[in-house]
Assembly symmetry: D4
Homo-oligomer: 175 residues x 8
């Protein structure tokens, strides 16, 4: 984990096959200039690494953990059990899952006492944004970046609206 002393968000995933989904969280953090680390921590195949990771995360300066996994996804919940940091869970629709229902329910339905902040199936981008929102509660600079992001997101829809309007004037619209 490069520059662990700087990373404030840790993106972990249960398997290399989760990388295409989970790297979308990394892209959001890149855009917002939030230092992060990204690695593989398997609850089932490297359980002791997971315990160590979760116990030391706060000490290493991590503020928020993003954990993605598929199938019977135990990584987000187990990490949450071993740290007091907020853990964001990303259910990943892996190839062997039952249409994603297994990962979704395994991550979301945590018992009272140990919360996991769950986002939509494969929604690693939203996990990244949520991490930024959490950090922004104490960072005015990040807050401004979030507000800018929202503004440009809105503008991009308005641009689509205008484009569609022009196309309709030609074809689609009833005269």
């Amino acid at each position: 984990m490069s520059k662990p002393n700087h990373a404030v968000v840790s993106i972990i995933m249960g398997s290399q096959s989760d990388l295409p989904v989970m790297s979308q969280a990394a892209e959001v953090l890149d855009t917002m200039d939030v230092p992060y680390e990204l690695t593989i921590v398997s609850a089932h195949r490297t359980p002791l690494r997971m315990v160590k990771f979760a116990q030391e995360a706060a000490t290493r300066g991590i503020k928020v953990i993003i954990a993605g996994a598929g199938g019977a996804a135990h990584l987000p919940g187990m990490v949450a059990a071993l740290t007091h940091l907020p853990v964001i869970g990303v259910p990943v629709k892996s190839s062997n899952s039952i249409d994603g229902w297994d990962s979704l329910l395994s991550i979301l339905q945590m018992p009272n006492g140990i919360p996991v902040a769950t986002v939509a199936l494969d929604a690693a981008k939203n996990a990244g944004l949520l991490a930024v929102e959490i950090l922004a509660t104490a960072d005015e600079n990040l807050t401004q970046k979030l507000i800018s992001f929202r503004t440009s997101q809105t503008q991009s829809v308005l641009n689509q609206v205008e484009l569609l309007q022009k196309q309709k004037n030609g074809h689609l619209h009833k005269k």
Copy 2:
């Protein structure tokens, strides 16, 4: 909303009938001495109140919003769309819902761009804990309270273990 200048967490719910569930979030915040406000904001019956609430929450000093709703639960997602604050969504298993699946999916499956930190069905207690975890990322005092909470939660299980062990010595265990 009493002392709104002090509240840092806002607990809102779509209907008075959600109060028995949602007040469990308030109890957690009481325990942790986190100032909060609690009110009803209906996405469908008071949409303009919802817009105003969401737009002004950050300015009023709110840091985290906890929103609970049942059925086609639009409150958490719509509030999230109108603020850059982290929004924690609590799916409530209301009387008319389809076993809770409708509120769960309506809150969890947000499109990329607008995250909602979803907790388990009726898990308002976890929503309260998650709010504290978020605030604790910038508050060492709250971090210590969370660590104490976790320790005493673990101890309470260990007490049950011991009690069960004593009972078993009498009856259950095979000699």
Copy 3:
């Protein structure tokens, strides 16, 4: 929105990616010579545009709104909350949805007080027909067009019946 003074149906959708589905509603209205408008209104990325759209629709002469969205689909229900016009909801099976269940339940399971007239998954054509049926309750001309549409729809099945019958006489049928 071209000729907004004339449009009586407004077709809106949460995202450009819903256009291939939602344009089927437009085709029905074209066929029936019902003036409409079609645009993108995102509940989550352009919430204020949505509020304005919904509040002004009736004043602009709109009689029926058709709203399509995928995932945690809040657009139909939120628009319905902000207007007294009938709102027809089209659940769209978007790429990230859980087989369409999320959009279906998010649109259908509205609380009492704010109805949304929901049609089948991706059934924008039926949304267009339902809009015409609604307008036809006060328009004898449209009623005649609906009756013609039904007649020709029935005839098209009867033509298939006949064609199949001819084919069977050659191969399929047991002699």
Copy 4:
């Protein structure tokens, strides 16, 4: 059916056991002074009565049909197939249904060509409101009644807000 020459909405249901749910649609129409009829039409046990009912409804002056049924609920869709009037379907969670999924899907998932305006499970009140919204597209008087209904519905939530606020000032709120 008393005063059938006056009724403009027809409320039908597949079985007497649906009456407690379906009479909520009647109550809405009573409130709004919309003349209606209410009767039992079973798709499966009185299919010919259903055909006759659906074919004659428009001629009898009916403008909107509300049809509720449970289990494999064919009544709304079959009536819709036999009339050009808008048909509102109410899935009823009957005792033998699989948690309501069967009636919900049997009513909602109509093929293209024959729409049914489906409302939430057991949401007969919303079916009544939707019928009024449809009629109001050509009735300024009804439109005003709908707007009043919405206003008083909003006010009733605001009253709950105030009441809750008073209670909180005593107990719930963190000082």
Copy 5:
């Protein structure tokens, strides 16, 4: 319908798109030399043809009806409501269905009083076999054909067993 005076099984389907599935029922009947007819009867697009078909089927000498449909599949249940003949329902997983759940539940969950003998999703072959089993209750010749069919079906599995055994002796099996 060729030789309707001879056909004893009627295979009907809601749409031409169901033909690839439903023709598998015809193939079984061909194999067993059971005379049948096959046609399209749409509950929603040709409701009166459906009523006529169902009412006259017994008089025309039909003994068993096989009805396949997708989505909100009302054809099998409505035909069953209009005849005392046994009706076999085939849920078809059409392109717009929700993974087949809608057709499955719309056909299976009939209310008491009107049974439909439902087979598995897309299992038209089994519908054909069930029709033969029903006719065989009063036809010793057909019974013998069924017994032969079962014997050769069993034999075909045993042949696969033997083939697999030979292959394993080369590769798969641990020595």
Copy 6:
């Protein structure tokens, strides 16, 4: 099994706890004067009895088998695999089942080659009626009984219609 030489329908169930549901099939057969037997045959706890039962049923003069079971319900399908008689499957919503989905799918989703005529969850009455419909394909007397049953079933709905009409004239109907 008393008078086994006379019984033509065999009602079997996997467990004594299925009796309240399955005896409704017996009541239908009693009404129609169809001789039957009724017993417990557990696929899992008495597998050899099941094999013997299924293999001998046809020889003993049984024409139709009705088999009910809950949970992972293997009885209907296994009996069907061991006889060429038509087997009607009744999914029973037993106390340990997952809302009946397990028994429903275990009975319905039979592979091609071995059909089971499945009825709705707990719909033993319909299983009885379906058995009669099957026998009636070769029994004019039974056909007449079925037609009478249908007629009186229709009449009983019409009586409810009339009763409801009288009540409405007093209260429910809008004047």
Copy 7:
């Protein structure tokens, strides 16, 4: 844990509330004279106890672990990840679960590499029997006990058959 040097099966559960279900596993082991221990190990509230338990189980002489949990049930899978002993998972339908689907999928859908032998919802009795079957693969004495259990289980059904037969001779059976 009394006589841990003797126990060969370890029954663990995530919460005291699982005891009524899980003690059924203990009863089976009592009946079969298999020494066991029974305790609470919470994956989420006592994660380090869980790690220690799982790592030491084999050394302590445990041969099979039975683990029951509800909701997002991570206990069976995490214990399986930390031991090479066979782990039997019992999904428990806890009060906050979504009809048991969450615990079922969280336990069953383990990734390749770490199996959990899952039994039916709340089926702790079967978990006990499965543990005995596993031990019996190397214990002729236990094998005989299993065979006796099966024989008496079969006999108990046959007794019900006889009892039912007697009752039917009086009432139920058609003469």
Copy 8:
């Protein structure tokens, strides 16, 4: 079945089409040098072969049975009913199944008295590992092989971690 006197695990499947999935169990046993047999036993198409297979398995020296099947999957449960050996069930997502739910529930939801050790959908590899774990309860040599397998499985994840770390140092990581 070659060298049946040596095989201690029997891998059976309902259909040749299950072979690509089920041969993954064989590969695990090959790796671990556990002698096995592999064959097709169809519960529905070769029921008597299944009875014979299950009754004789223990006598032939089989210690564990792995049974895979799709759709209404009765093979694992029926074999379990006919033997006291532990039976591992593999739900196979066959082409006609409803997304695998039918096979999953048909295998998992066994009634009390007859357990089936169910693994995840298509998880034949885990079935093989579970068989080894069961045999290892009385075989120190196999235990060592399992421990080695786990170690190398963990190491393979750690290798991925390292590789990812190197890649990140180039691109992904925020500097």
